[in-house]
Subunit: 374 residues, 2 copies
């Protein structure tokens, strides 16, 4: 049977391409059943990318950096706050705007904006912000059916403080995200998604990591690929051992990190050695480097791409998320590795030119104008 | 007693300047008690500008113009929708962002951003969007104490459709705004505000016009000034007679209109004749003309100012509101009339360069950089 016939309308999708890109032939399949040979009974490919994450409404406010000092919060990080802390901080900041966010959800929105098929799992409450959240992700064309939490905590919010240089510092109240559990993993969607991508932030709520492990196992059992973003250097500090175990056990195939997360993971200030460690620990590693662009690693292959020029950085919120969207879309469309990195850089550039974590324009049109053929 | 001693820290504020700017000496005081001579018992000036309006959270989404045709809605207008219509429209639009809005509230935010003292009356519900609304306007430095509606309709929303050319079309569900009544008029705030400015949209909810009339009477009884924006040409069509009566009876001193509202008011397509009619009907008339700038009329004086250049119009939402903020601030600071118009144009220009109806930067800093001394 020709391979493409099982892959739906995109025969060169991730299901096909990453098997080659990741170079399974060179890796030990022990302990990772189904990673070499796709199942003969795998479901039809319904989605190019499934993402799982904390479903969060962003409250975006511009600040001066001295507020961060007064709040005692490290610039650029994500910190968790409870409801009272969130309310108190809200009282101390200026006017804000609200936009649906959440790292992995932003990536799903980016994948859909690129014209590919995306799905998302994440937990909101049955409240006003939850309804806004559901609208926004569905209106972007993302498949989203996770049941809303009724009678519990409110929809999660993150107060995102945008510094004059565009760097963002996040204060997240997880609220309803605490209720995400393995029960929220729709097995058919996982089995029908070429890659399942999760955010490292999911190791914070109590049951979400179990949901991720369930999804990873289902994905591999269906001959699909798995991916994770390390999310935040402090998150890496909290879960370093678990993240390395996911990588070294082959539970995740594709790993995204930025420079600080990479260095935190390997507890080193030396980027070069950390990159080589990442190369050894996963099938595909991707390191984003801000103005220096990004680089993907696959076996002995090293695929860098430069950043796109930008007049002014308005808001870095979502930059990494949209990079991931572009890179995963590039894999799904069987682009050369360096071109997938370059597409990631393009998508990341779009989102830092305006306030908010998701594309303000069609990434599909932007990619076409930039010469990508998706 | 020197005049300034009654006017607080801004002796050249509206209370002083508009008496001269409006040129009362040339107008008939009959039927407008207190409009010539400020009361000897007037309260201390606490606010430069008080605004009253529908308190609305904007839901801002980019669209293609064909959506307007499918929805059967005239581009650039505001139409009222009920809850079911709002929900149905929301289902048909793409991802959005949320931002506090409401025409007169946007003006209050602009006045505060310019560094002047602003107050606002407007009705939200005791719900999540109402709390966001309250935060945003207070965080901008606006005095806002209107009691939230409990157990009734939700906080008002307006689905604002932004066309590729930046024009916005608004679909407003008034919700809790229907509950604004004369009881919400804080008499001390009115008496302590140099000018009370209301939006014509307030003639839509049942009791809000009574609240406006109460505020106008209190303002004049305290020797203060009154102002109205005509809001929207369809709004003018609904309330033409009442608006003209407010003007011709001297109930309002200062009237803001854009070109289409002005023409609707006088049921003419001839701008020049409409401008002369406006000049005759109010103490100060101001007509905004988009890319042609704006012009203020005071007796025989005509004070035009050109628009400021702008690279790209992102979103016209709030342009008229911020023009009003700049113009009123200019009056309050005793600027020459043409300079007040020019400051209005500057503030309007800031807000059309980004999505959202309120300033994204400090208008005070922007005005200073542009050479205004406020």
């Amino acid at each position: 049977m020709p391979h493409g016939s099982r892959l739906g309308p995109h025969p060169a999708g991730i299901g096909a391409c990453t098997r080659r890109l990741i170079g399974y032939e060179t890796r030990d399949p022990a302990g990772a059943p189904g990673r070499i040979h796709e199942s003969d009974f795998m479901s039809d490919l319904r989605f190019d990318v499934l993402t799982i994450g904390n479903a969060i409404v962003d409250i975006l406010a511009r600040i001066e950096d001295d507020l961060l000092a007064r709040e005692g919060v490290a610039k650029g990080m994500m910190r968790l706050v409870d409801g009272a802390q969130s309310a108190a901080l809200y009282d101390r900041i200026g006017p804000a705007i609200e936009a649906s966010g959440g790292s992995a959800a932003n990536t799903a929105a980016g994948v859909a904006s690129l014209g590919l098929r995306a799905a998302y799992f994440g937990k909101v409450a049955d409240d006003a912000l939850g309804r806004i959240y559901r609208h926004d992700i569905r209106a972007q064309g993302v498949h989203y059916e996770t049941a809303a939490l009724v009678g519990g905590a409110p929809t999660a919010t993150s107060i995102i403080l945008i510094s004059p240089d565009g760097e963002r510092t996040m204060n997240t109240h997880l609220g309803a995200c605490h209720a995400l559990s393995p029960d929220d993993i729709d097995e058919d969607v996982v089995a029908g998604s070429a890659v399942t991508y999760v955010e490292g932030y999911l190791w914070d709520p109590p049951l979400a990591k179990d949901a991720c492990r369930k999804a990873f196992a289902l994905a591999h059992a269906s001959g699909r690929k798995t991916a994770i973003t390390l999310s935040d250097s402090f998150c890496v500090d909290r879960y370093r051992g678990e993240f390395l175990d996911l990588m070294r056990s082959g539970t995740v195939d594709i790993v995204f990190a930025n420079d600080s997360e990479l260095k935190a993971l390997y507890e080193t200030s030396d980027r070069a050695s950390a990159i080589e460690a990442l190369r050894a620990d996963c099938a595909i590693g991707i390191v984003t480097l801000g103005a220096e662009g990004a680089v993907a690693l696959r076996g002995t292959e090293t695929a860098p791409a430069p950043a796109f020029p930008i007049d002014r950085i308005e808001d870095l919120t979502g930059a990494g998320d949209q990079f991931a969207a572009g890179f995963l879309a590039g894999l799904a469309r069987d682009l050369p590795l360096a071109e997938a990195v370059r597409l990631g850089c393009l998508c990341g550039t779009e989102v830092i030119g305006h306030v908010g974590p998701r594309p303000a324009t069609s990434l599909k049109d932007l990619a076409a104008q930039t010469g990508f053929r998706l």
